[in-house]
Structure formats: structure tokens, C-alpha cells
């Protein structure tokens, strides 16, 4: 079991800055995020977009801000569990929490900060029957975590965005057969990627099925074949495949957080605005996921909340210990 002072659920800007604020108080932190990389929405949804309301930065690209937060955190060496979702949050006693992920990883902490933004990014699924029968390693995938898994396999990919194009190009080099199914006859992704996919199709390296939808998945315990319907020609074809990769983007869901006994209002966690504590003592919520009177869903407000919550956690973890605020200009940043 991983042990730490504060388990931070969510590694967007609020969660990342909580690492720094906790670190100044000599509290160790461990971040958990369902996405495979830190940064939350900033890295996943709009990495190249400029942000104009970070104090001191007239403009900063979203990914650049994430990179700088990660760099700022280095002295405090936070732990990371990425690509895993916290399923349960159990309070075993005062200053004793156990968090368990969907993959069975357990984290024992003295306090918890939920900085989950809008919740977990879950894959969008098409309306096709029986997809769930083949999920979890039985042939249906919603993201590519390790491309090597698909080496020498027969693959069908579906989707029309950049992610579908990029993975089609990449996987066509290592898989034995790649079919890309797309609803319309053109792609709106990056022109270079679109051209490359059409070129691979001409070379016979990618089987491109346009104006087509996935109609059916079939197999016996594991996926064996899919049926693809052409919208115009009214013809359907059966394609034998080892793996189906559905790439229709991600959509946020509050997910398991709803079941942890926290007061929830309209998909947000109610907090006390004095210290961003929730109704469960020792559990705090900061950033876009919390709600209180006059809440502003801004990154800069998440930073403020991270500082206040970290100090409240220091008091919770060290009852009776007097703490005097120390400035980084006086004390610097003392790594551990």
C-alpha cells in the first residue's frame, strides 16, 4: 500500500498546486488521475489554448502552465498513480483514509483533497448493443494505453477525429491489418494526418470504410468480428478482428465520487468556504469540483483554495501544533 500525508484526487492545476502548498508545510502528497497524463482538462482538452487570467502571465499556453506547475512541484517529489480511477474512499478512523483504484492500487493517507474538476473523463460510446460484453481485455478498447498490445493483431478502429487518425497511422505500422471506420466521407482532423491516412489506404496498408457505422459486435467470450454498415450503399460487411478501438472522445462524469457520502449539489461537492472542507472531516474539495456561495470556476481560485485547504489539513494532521506562516522569500523552498 502507498502511504502519504495527503491523497490528491485529480491532477489538474488545482491538484498540482496543492502539492506545492502542502510541500511548503512539509506534507507529502500522492496524486491519482484517471487520465494517463497529469494536467487534467488543460492537457487533455485544450493544451495549445492561451490562458489570459493567470496572475503574472499576460498569456500562457495551457500545457505550458501544467509543465511549469510540475516543475514547481519537483522539490516535493509527489507520487503519481495515473490511468487509474479511485473507486472507493474509506475513512478507517481519524487521520486514516484508504483509497482504492479500479486496478486495485491502495493509498493510505491522513487527509484527502478532491480536485477532480468535472469528474472522470470517460470514453464516449456509440449506441451499439453488447459493447460491454467485450470490454475489459476481451477485444473492445476505448483508448490506446500501450500500442504494443496491438502488434501483429487484426484491428478495427472507429472515429473521425485526430485521435482516430493518429492511431490509425501509428498502428498501421505494427498491426497485421487495420480497418478505419468513419461516419462521413471526409475527415476534419489535421490535414497532414488526413492525407497520410488516404495515402495508406491507397497503398493497401489501411482498409478505409467511409460513410460507414459500426452496427454490431460479435464473438464468443472474446470479440471475433464486427459488422459495419455503409450508409449510402445499404450494404453491410462482416470484418473478422482481434481488437476494436473506439475513439469518439471523452466526456466527464462525476463517477464514483457520488458514492462517498459527500454532500453533492448539481454534480459539485458542497464545501465550507472558510477552509474548503467537506461534510466528511479530513476530506477537502478544491477547484472546479466544489461549490459554495459566489464560487468562481477559475484556475486562479483553485490555486487559492489549494493554499487554504493545505493549511487546514496541516492543522487537522497536527492538532494542537502552532503554525506560523512562512514566506518563500524568507525561507526558500526546502526540498524533501
Amino acid at each position: 500500500m502507498i502511504t502519504t500525508d495527503i491523497a490528491i484526487i485529480g491532477s489538474g492545476p488545482a491538484g498540482l498546486f496543492a502539492v506545492f502548498e502542502a510541500g511548503l508545510l512539509k506534507l507529502r502528497t500522492h496524486l491519482i488521475d484517471y487520465l494517463p497524463q497529469p494536467g487534467g482538462q488543460l492537457s487533455e482538452v485544450y493544451p495549445k489554448k492561451p490562458i489570459y487570467d493567470i496572475p503574472g502571465y499576460p498569456t500562457v499556453q495551457a500545457q505550458e502552465l501544467v509543465d511549469k506547475l510540475l516543475e514547481q512541484n519537483k522539490p516535493f517529489n509527489p507520487g503519481f498513480t495515473l490511468g487509474e480511477r479511485i473507486e472507493s474512499l474509506e475513512k478507517r478512523g481519524e487521520r486514516d483514509f484508504v483509497l482504492t483504484t479500479d486496478k486495485g492500487t491502495q493509498i493510505n493517507s491522513k487527509a484527502v483533497i478532491i480536485a477532480g474538476g468535472l469528474g472522470c473523463f470517460e470514453p464516449r460510446k456509440p449506441e451499439v448493443a453488447d459493447l460491454n460484453k467485450f470490454e475489459g481485455g476481451r477485444g473492445i478498447n476505448y483508448m490506446v494505453l500501450d500500442p504494443e498490445k496491438f502488434r501483429n493483431k487484426k484491428l478495427v478502429l472507429a472515429g473521425g477525429g485526430d485521435s482516430a487518425l493518429d492511431w490509425t497511422i501509428h498502428l498501421s505500422q505494427i498491426a497485421s491489418e487495420v480497418t478505419l471506420v468513419h461516419r462521413s466521407e471526409s475527415f476534419r482532423g489535421a490535414p497532414d494526418s488526413v492525407n497520410k491516412v488516404f495515402e495508406l489506404s491507397k497503398q493497401g496498408k489501411v482498409n478505409l470504410l467511409l460513410n460507414s457505422n459500426l452496427a454490431k459486435v460479435d464473438g464468443n467470450g472474446v470479440l471475433k468480428q464486427v459488422v459495419v454498415q455503409n450508409k449510402n450503399a445499404d450494404d453491410s460487411r462482416v470484418i473478422a478482428t482481434d481488437e476494436l478501438i473506439l475513439l469518439f472522445g471523452l466526456s466527464p462524469k462525476l463517477g464514483p465520487i457520488e458514492r462517498w457520502g459527500l454532500n453533492i449539489e448539481k454534480n459539485s461537492i458542497e464545501v465550507n468556504p472558510e477552509d474548503y472542507s467537506t461534510n466528511v472531516e479530513g476530506v477537502f474539495a478544491i477547484g472546479d469540483i466544489n461549490t459554495y456561495k459566489n464560487k468562481l470556476k477559475l484556475i486562479l481560485c483553485g490555486f487559492h483554495e489549494a493554499a487554504i485547504a493545505s493549511h487546514a489539513i496541516y492543522k487537522y494532521i497536527n492538532p494542537g501544533v502552532k503554525y506560523t506562516l512562512k514566506y518563500t522569500t524568507v525561507n526558500g523552498v526546502n526540498a524533501f
Binding site: Q41, G160, R183, F248, G249, P252, N267
Partner: protein
């Protein structure tokens, strides 16, 4: 003085008519979020980057020239879209909106 525009919203089969201001520079996603239609997430804040404000335009006119390239590109990533699909964050509330009826997807 600007007048309010009327927008009919269909959500899970139920219809409701709202009056929206056309002079505050709001987009339809922002307006819907301010009503009780909280299932409109508008996660990316209105940059046409997340498709969590997908609606269908059933009737009337949005008063713009339809979806622009970045909006179409985002719609293309969804598992299912319709001929009348739009991202509500890209529909500006202006007095050019007439008899608009939309459905939340």
C-alpha cells in the same frame, strides 16, 4: 433597447420556452447553463473543444452561417451526430435568432 429573444428547449421530451437577452454577448451554452438545464456541461468553457454542449436545431434560425470548421471538426469526433447538430457554445445570442427550437442531445 434590445429585446429578449424566445428559445424553445426540448429536453427528454419536455418542452420549455425561455426568454434570453440578446445584448449580453452570451452564447446559447452559457444561457442554458444559467437555466436549470445543468446537464449541459460546457466543459471547455465555449472553445468548441469538448462537445459537451451538443444540441439539435429543430426549428427556426440561429442567425449565423452554420457550424464553422472547428465546430464541425469537434462534432465529427462524436459517436452520433445529425444533420442539424450544433455545439450550443458556438451559437451567439443575437437578435438574428428567430423562432429557435433546440433539443438537448
Amino acid at each position: 433597447m434590445a429585446e429578449n429573444i424566445k428559445i424553445t428547449v426540448v429536453n427528454k421530451g419536455a418542452e420549455q420556452v425561455f426568454e434570453a437577452p440578446d445584448d449580453l454577448g452570451l452564447n446559447l451554452m452559457e444561457f442554458l447553463k444559467a437555466t436549470e438545464h445543468q446537464e449541459i456541461e460546457g466543459m471547455c468553457g465555449g472553445m468548441a473543444l469538448c462537445a459537451t454542449c451538443h444540441v439539435r436545431v429543430l426549428e427556426g434560425t440561429t442567425g449565423d452561417e452554420g457550424a464553422k470548421d472547428d465546430e464541425v471538426a469537434m462534432l465529427e469526433t462524436l459517436p452520433e451526430i445529425f444533420g442539424n447538430s450544433r455545439l450550443s457554445c458556438q451559437i451567439k445570442l443575437t437578435d438574428r435568432i428567430k423562432n429557435l427550437k433546440i433539443e438537448l442531445v
